[in-house]
């Protein structure tokens, strides 16, 4: 492995173009002046030609490891040389990347120190990337050789790799964004300007208390709290019906609650407009009956609230069903034998034990609502929220990056605050109820006083969901909603027309471009997300190393960062060297990986903690190393987690909008941003037809993934164990 990384380092330094090359994979650069053309030249050639001399010191770090290649691993010199070489090479690479940019030195103090630099450099390319990776793994190999994490090179490299990518793609952009919040109009940094902008009345105004308009921060907060509480309650109602009642059509109910997850979020907003908008079915009918003129009442808080409830209740449900099922039945049985009635049992035992689930569900609803972009855009009316304000600050006429950054800081503050409140509320009490063996028994049914309202809510909500989806389907096949109800396939044809012309098959539908891009990006992102998530989960559950808690917190942080914030942060961080990837497909893939990784981590942790550690240990004692163990023992047993991570990241990549809207470019347009564009042009028919098509594509993809990954075949005892 060591030889591989040394060779890779040399290849990256001496052969591959050091700086970013457009259309790298067409390989045109090979014939177009490489290796001497200075745009395509490798670092070694540049240095030899007397340019970019600051790249020279890295060669030292590549030469040094050659000297110790023959030495034994246990030799202290071996470890020391690798650590020094790796750390120096990586550190130098990062420092020169950050220090020298498009206009020479990036900071005044560097110029003061070294004098003005006449040269400049662009974003790093594959050469730099591979060399950096090689340095990183030389470093981790060295650290492992010194005996860290039992001298396990694979584990050490995995830890190093995860830390590096999370730092580059989560912490670095967020830090950049925080810096941008302090930037003044003339490019300097100022605390005063920050505070002036931060305490702007448009953000924090309380005008609505006296009949005026409130700041966007209050709007967002109020909406998010409302959505968090209500989705949690609705999710709980569904979970209770599924686990603690004799309801017979549980499968149907489950399908119904999963449907909104594979629906692009704002599609529900559209359906709400079709139902309750000015010319919506319900509005006009009610207006006719009551003899009043229809109003635009739904635009604003009510509409956004309803749409978000529909969209995010399933997420709350999925979190809660696990927890509600997970409360050990013997807890509830014990309470009953201790003379508590069913209602008392529910109130004093079941409900408190569901606290972690309730807190998680609330947090998710809260964050999703904060980050949601499509529904407020479609239904918001005059009800401004942070996410849309951020968008308009970036793309609108005002183009004010620092305002966007400040709004994003407010948004991030709210979600991190909620994250901490949740931890605080859960406290240090334990809620794990399954201890030791022997938890047979059944959950008691809900107390009657609870069952009746729960049934009513679930029935009402299910009906509403069915109607909304009926509307979506129906809306995609009518000429013009509310005006001309003739049935037509016009919208599907416009979007997905395929013609057989002279040049063969021609994809002439207007949606094809964004459709194929979306499929491509989602297909690329899903396996990478799953891989990164599962490796992280493996490190967190199976390995012990210093700083594990900080490591866990770091990897879960992107979970609490709304997509809108990620979008802004990525734009600010990645449109200038050293990493210049805005406008590419790569930035979309990367944003999806780091947005969705926490779900992969959680799914991985959940199933890995159920696999006994003795499985690993027996594999290790049989002579396999930890990579073999991970691949041959852990991975096959993790099929459900892999599937969950794959499905989730694929679906999210196809439906996400909040981060995507900032990162798309003319060449890489995603389905969701294309649809939003149609909606803004009031082209509802096309938008809904496209969304409906997406829903079916996702259903097919989920089915396909399920087939490919297959089911884990483990014999599990169903009843509790007795005897020895």
């Amino acid at each position: 492995m060591l030889i591989f990384w040394i060779v890779a380092g040399w290849v990256g330094y001496c052969l591959l173009p050091w700086y970013g090359v457009e259309k790298f994979w067409s390989l045109e650069w090979l014939l177009d002046g490489w290796p001497l053309d200075k745009d395509y030249a490798p670092a070694a050639v540049l240095v030899a030609m007397g340019q970019k001399l600051w790249l020279l010191p890295m060669a030292l770090s590549l030469i040094a490891p050659l000297a110790v290649m023959g030495r034994r691993k246990s030799d202290p010199v071996f470890a020391r040389v690798l650590i020094v070489a790796g750390a120096f090479g990586f550190g130098w690479l990062v420092a020169q990347g950050l220090g020298i940019g498009l206009r020479g030195f990036t900071a005044p103090w560097l110029e003061a120190l070294f004098g003005p630099l006449e040269d400049r450099q662009f974003g790093m390319g594959y050469g730099a990337m591979i060399t950096a990776t090689a340095f990183l793994f030389l470093l981790t190999t060295g650290i492992a050789a010194r005996g860290a994490v039992n001298g396990d090179v694979f584990v050490m490299s995995a830890i190093g790799g995860v830390i590096a990518v999370v730092t580059i793609f989560v912490f670095f952009p967020i830090a950049k964004m925080l810096m941008a919040a302090f930037v003044t109009d003339d490019g300097g940094y100022s605390l005063l300007v920050f505070f002036a902008k931060f305490f702007d009345a448009r953000i924090w105004g309380l005008g609505c208390l006296s009949g005026g308009r409130c700041g966007v921060a209050w709007n967002s907060l109020f909406l998010a709290v409302l959505v968090g509480v209500l989705t949690t309650l609705l999710g709980l109602a569904f979970a209770l019906v599924l686990t603690r009642s004799g309801f017979r059509y549980k499968r149907v109910l489950r399908a119904l609650t999963v449907l909104p997850i594979i629906t692009p979020p704002f599609v529900i907003g559209l359906a709400i407009i079709l139902l309750l908008g000015l010319s919506g079915t319900v509005t006009t009918t009610v207006a006719e009956i009551l003899g009043i003129s229809p109003t635009r009442w739904v635009y604003g808080l009510p509409g956004v609230l309803i749409a978000q409830l529909l969209a995010f209740t399933p997420i709350a449900f999925l979190v809660l069903i696990g927890v509600v099922e997970g409360v050990s039945p013997s807890m509830e049985e014990a309470a009953q034998t201790l003379r508590a009635s069913r209602w008392q049992t529910f109130r004093t035992v079941s409900l408190p034990l569901m606290r972690p689930g309730l807190a998680n569900a609330f947090l998710l609803g809260f964050i999703e609502s904060m980050a949601d972009f499509g529904n407020p855009l479609v239904l918001g009316g005059n009800f401004d929220v942070l996410s849309t304000e951020i968008f308009f600050a970036i793309v609108g006429a005002q183009y004010d990056q620092s305002r966007a950054a400040i709004l994003a800081v407010v948004l991030l503050g709210f979600t991190l605050g909620a994250f901490y409140l949740q931890r605080f509320w859960l406290g240090k009490k334990s809620y794990t109820t399954i201890t030791g063996k022997g938890d047979a028994g059944v959950h008691p049914a809900m107390p009657r006083g609870l069952a009746i309202p729960v049934y009513a809510v679930v029935a009402l909500w299910s009906t509403f969901t069915v109607v909304v989806y009926g509307m979506i389907l129906y809306g995609s096949v009518v000429q013009l909603w509310g005006v001309d109800d003739t049935l037509t396939f016009k919208h599907y044809l416009t979007a997905f027309r395929v013609e057989w012309g002279e040049a063969g098959l021609r994809w002439t539908g207007s949606a094809w471009d964004s459709f194929w891009t979306t499929i491509l990006i989602a297909t690329l992102a899903a396996p990478l997300t799953a891989a990164l998530g599962l490796i992280t989960a493996y490190l967190l559950t199976r390995q012990n190393f210093a700083g594990k808690r900080a490591f866990e917190f770091g990897t879960m942080l992107s979970f609490a960062i709304p997509g809108t914030v990620i979008g802004v942060a990525y734009i600010l961080a990645f449109n200038v060297p050293p990493i210049e990837i805005t406008g590419t497909g790569l930035i979309l893939v990367i944003s999806f990986i780091f947005r969705n990784m926490p779900v992969g981590v959680r799914a991985g942790i959940a199933s890995m903690s159920q696999l006994d550690k003795s499985l690993d240990e027996s594999s290790l004692t049989l002579g396999a190393n930890s990579w073999h163990t991970f691949r041959a023992v852990i991975l096959p047993l993790l099929r459900p987690a892999i599937l969950a991570a794959l499905v989730y990241s694929f679906v999210r990549a196809m439906t996400a909008i909040s981060a995507v809207i900032f990162l798309v470019s003319a060449r890489y347009d995603m389905a969701t941003s294309y649809i939003i564009g149609r909606v803004e042009n009031n082209d509802y028919g096309l938008a809904i037809a496209y969304s409906t098509a997406l829903i079916f594509v996702m259903l097919a993809a989920v089915g396909l993934l399920q087939l490919m990954v297959g089911r884990t075949r483990i014999g599990r005892r169903t009843s509790h164990a007795e005897g020895h």
Partner: protein, 360 residues
């Protein structure tokens, strides 16, 4: 000081059955009497219906047919909440979000005691299990043994008519088990509680019980005092389940009153007939009641297969014409070696006749 009192009552099952779904009989038509103030153990292998029986007493499962009485009261249709029964769960089922004190006083809150009484009784309960001063701990901060005591205290303080234990020792390590089971027995005897206790460990059952009910395939195989069951098992299943037993096929050749003469190979032995008729039968012999003598003599000739030294005694596997048996001898000074020819005979008391044709 308020002590914990007992309001012990009897438990009675009349033709009780429990059927899951359409045809899975978990408990099949059993009759059971548990006298007030006694400790009765339900003993049997996995899936024999003992836990279901216990849960029917608690009211966590409802009988499909038959009547269940606690004291003189018919509780067949009463849910758990309304029965004066409390239960110690196998997993203890301590509420993880409540402190020890809150756990112990949980049931008292719903039993109409005022605050002072609740506090007093809970303290007395904790004192009884030796956990005074642990009030503010959370269950996750206690050891397994301590959690188990909290579970016992929580059930005790309600002064139930019947106290139920569902494999209470199975999550404890071997050393603790002996100690805890003695404590449970002591509390039961000093308070005069009615206790129904489920276990699959025969030694545990022998040690704590006034009466043992051995269950098999949803029915009662035999009930009686520990000594009865050990010394006079009704059939091969009970003989093998309670302690180990060598089951040797024999032929009853003569009956004189209550005494039978049996033939094993060409050796004859006389012992109580226990109502068996002439013909094939089984002889159940505990390993410690086997006699081995070197060379040939009065008995069945056999060969030592394996000899194992376990400190206080020798364990032998011996092969004879009727099969292989297991014997335990006290003599560790001059042990037999594998291959030695020996003669097997039986102690005067201990071996019993059981009907043939039954195996576990």
């Amino acid at each position: 000081m308020t002590a914990i009192n007992a309001k012990a009552a009897s438990v009675r099952f009349e033709n009780v059955s429990k059927v899951y779904g359409r045809s899975v009989r978990a408990v099949d038509n059993i009759n059971l009497d548990v006298a007030a103030g006694t400790l009765v153990t339900l003993l049997g292998p996995s899936g024999c219906g003992k836990t279901t029986t216990l849960r029917m007493i608690a009211g966590l499962e409802m009988a499909t047919s038959g009547r269940i009485l606690i004291g003189d009261k018919d509780v067949t249709k009463l849910p758990a909440t309304d029965r004066d029964v409390s239960m110690v769960f196998q997993s203890y089922a301590l509420f993880p979000h409540m402190t020890v004190m809150e756990n112990v006083s949980y049931g008292l809150k719903f039993s109409g005691f005022d605050k002072a009484e609740t506090q007093e009784k809970a303290q007395a309960g904790l004192g009884l299990v030796g956990l005074k001063g642990y009030d503010d701990r959370l269950p996750s901060e206690l050891s397994g043994g301590q959690q188990q005591r909290v579970a016992v205290a929580r059930a005790l303080v309600l002064e139930p008519q019947v106290l139920l234990f569902d494999e209470p020792l199975s999550n404890l390590d071997a050393k603790l088990r002996r100690q805890v089971r003695e404590e449970i027995r002591e509390i039961q005897q000093s308070l005069g509680l009615t206790v129904v206790y489920v276990t699959h460990d025969q030694e545990e059952a022998l040690a704590v019980s006034d009466e043992i009910v051995v269950m098999r395939n949803a029915a009662i195989a035999q009930k009686g005092s520990p000594r009865d069951l050990y010394e006079a098992p009704a059939d091969a299943f009970v003989a093998d389940f309670i302690g180990e037993a060598n089951l040797i096929p024999v032929e009853i050749t003569a009956l004189e009153g209550d005494t039978a003469t049996v033939r094993i190979a060409d050796y004859t032995h006389r012992l109580p007939s226990r109502g068996l008729a002439l013909g094939p039968a089984m002889l159940a012999v505990r390993p410690s009641r086997m006699r081995l003598v070197a060379g040939t003599g009065d008995g069945v000739s056999a060969v030592i297969d394996k000899a194992t030294y376990v400190g206080s005694r020798m364990e032998y596997t011996v092969t004879a014409a009727f099969g292989t048996v297991f014997a335990v001898l006290e003599d560790v000074v001059t042990p037999f070696r594998p291959g030695d020819a020996v003669t097997i005979s039986f102690a005067a008391s201990g071996p019993v006749l059981i009907p043939a044709g039954q195996t576990s």
